[in-house]
Assembly symmetry: C2
Homo-oligomer: 411 residues x 2
């Protein structure tokens, strides 16, 4: 790392670059960074709606669009954003240029549509930072070693930003969005939800995977791996937002940091499976082959050499899953396959629960007192997940939020 | 050049790739080439309207858009075309891939917005042709040695195609458009206009510069320099079109091959200029500095050491030109500056006139007989240009077309 060059990476999502007015707000944020003496690396998404428009074009042209061509197509969305924004910077007399992934390059594998970053030429980038004060980089895109354009999957611009911050040793990676930070739970269903000042990577990972859509999950993994502090904040306010960072003792003092929920759940149960080795593989092997992601799994204690197996999946996969389970039933001799789509899961997340027992008991007791029936339970080191009937989701979130005192500002 | 590989370059303009239906027609043309045993290189423009949409975005964002950023922006138009078309080829089981200029690369100078091709890595391209049967290349774009995206100026996709044909030794470069060839004159104003089977590069150059907008002028210069036969034909018919090629004896047997016209003319006259050395430079120097292109120039014989100077320019430049001429008048002591926008020029073009005198006389006499007053005359080896009042343009075109027997099929 060169001494003397302070670098700040900022990332702005689709709503932040949607039109000229929004982009002028973005320019103010960049100017603020320059005023503090930073060299700026600004990562932009496609303008909102643009990626969907391009994907719709692809589906119009082909029922199974070639993945490499599709990547080249949709990557134009970010190309347009960075060119327009750089024009705006240059109009304000700022020394700036745009950079596409291949011009850096940001090298990825060749898994088109869902590529992973392998390396970034930070030496080359630092050379540009000698010449320019702001580099405007296309998010979401990469380039294979054989020079084909790739994309990183939905939300991939967050990953681009964090990877650039890691490569350049940026003091922080600021992810600008249209909310002012990460909340203890969804403010739309719990009025006492509170913006957190800090949250641990591990907690953020669990929240992101539960559908708290502020940060793309892969970007959090990246940030955790390379210890990049990520600040989630709003383009349209001056609030310092939420810092996603390594856990420290103050975080561990808090039992539960946030309550997440996910309504996209369907439950499938196979009854009276023979409890023999290989039966789990017989169920989950075919699902995995078809790309069906299984979430929670519970197996009952064996009775007379037979058992029940229950698992949850995304609702969109239910039809395919049931077809596969009919075959599994034939093959294994299970008596019955039943399913339920009126279920949802609620989770309490916190690095503090590692060192404390009784968190699960408190959660179950609070829900049961309100008459909410617990259908499935799954626990990990820093998370308790409970499957309930969908109609109780909002109530359960509020109960858990209260139970663990998340409305108090103790962070 | 490798033996055994027959390569055909085809270029399709914006109207040919406007939508899915059109692109399916294009695929038929490509398939026809494959059926004849060719490896195909297909150059596409942006879908019609797309480049203008992107340029409008740029003007919305900035009154003076940065030229390099503007190139990166508008180059996305072709990127979208080639990705969509390649999807369509792959759906039909054709081994194809898209190529952006930087992926080949097509190296240009850094004159953004109007770049010139310096080199094409034909070795690299031939490598791709071993692997694929069709390469779908983005027209209109290039890449500097320092990896910035450039564009070749309006109509630049024709130039891309001809340059690729030259680099690869393509048997022919087929330029597909929405007309079925090059006509002896504009069929909209002369019903006896006839499609030519062949036309010489030099003739085509003169016609293109006169606003016969079938082929971009720089592409014809390129084709002439590298002796690439160019066939202009329609995407929507099977007509063999017009072959633009080196002149041969059959072409020389024809006095005049075509009649072109251009209404975008304004005439400016300075009266009573002192006829001293440097007076022409005093007029045309400042015009050239401001980027005003002067077309025809006539200077009268000096009388009493004074002379009149008349020239024509594009109408859009008239206001600026008159402002400059007021200064010139002050400086030189000319008595008067007058201008006229109701003028237009008509040209007779033909490589055959090189070896024959009397062509100009026949043209003047035919126009005069119909009462058309000749305002200015300019002649070159293969062209006679006459400035007349704009209202006579259509009549003059028809008279000259008849006079030189262009309605007869003698090509």
């Amino acid at each position: 790392m060169e001494s003397g060059m302070k670098i700040l990476v900022q990332k702005f999502g689709g709503t932040s670059v949607a039109n000229l007015e929004c982009m002028k707000k973005v320019r103010e944020k960049v100017q603020a960074g320059l005023n503090k003496g930073y060299k700026m690396v600004v990562v932009l998404s496609a303008r909102s709606g643009e990626t969907n428009r391009l994907l719709a074009l692809a589906s119009e042209w082909s029922s199974t669009p070639d993945p490499a061509e599709c990547d080249s197509l949709v990557s134009t969305g970010e190309q347009v954003s960075i060119a327009l924004f750089t024009m705006l910077l240059k109009d304000a007399g700022i020394r700036a240029r745009s950079l596409l992934a291949w011009q850096i390059p940001i090298i990825t594998d060749d898994d088109h549509g869902n590529a992973r970053i392998k390396s970034i030429d930070s030496q080359h980038l630092r050379g540009y930072l000698d010449e320019y004060d702001v580099l405007v980089v296309a998010g979401f895109q990469g380039c294979t070693e054989s020079q084909r354009i790739t994309t990183l999957g939905r939300g991939g611009s967050d990953t681009s930003a964090v990877a650039l911050a890691a490569a350049l040793g940026s003091v922080e990676c600021e992810i600008y969005t249209d909310v002012d930070g990460v909340y203890t739970t969804d403010p739309n269903i719990c009025s006492s939800a509170r913006k957190m000042d800090r949250v641990a990577y591990e907690e953020m990972l669990e929240m992101a995977s539960m559908g708290a859509k502020v940060l793309h999950i892969r970007s959090v993994e990246f940030a955790k791996k390379y210890k990049v502090p990520v600040r989630v904040r709003s383009t349209f306010s001056d609030d310092p937002g939420t810092l996603v960072t390594q856990e420290d003792s103050s975080m561990e003092a808090v039992l539960v940091s946030g309550i997440a929920y996910d309504k996209d759940q369907a439950r499938v149960t196979l009854h009276d499976l023979p409890d023999v080795p290989g039966v789990a593989a017989a169920i989950f092997g075919p699902l995995s082959e078809k790309g069906v992601l299984v979430d929670m799994i519970v197996q009952n204690t064996s009775l007379d050499g037979h058992t029940d197996m229950t698992f949850t999946i995304s609702r969109k996969d239910l039809k395919q899953t049931l077809a596969i389970m009919e075959e599994v039933k034939e093959r294994t001799g299970a008596t019955d396959v039943v399913s339920d789509v009126n279920v949802a899961k609620v989770s309490a997340i916190g690095v503090g629960m590692r060192n404390h027992s009784g968190v699960a008991a408190r959660a179950f007791s609070a829900l049961t007192q309100e008459g909410i029936n617990i259908l499935m339970i799954s626990t990990s080191e820093i998370k308790i997940t409970i499957l309930i009937q969908e109609k109780y989701v909002e109530l359960a979130v509020r109960i858990l939020h209260d139970t663990f005192g998340l409305d108090w500002d103790i962070n």
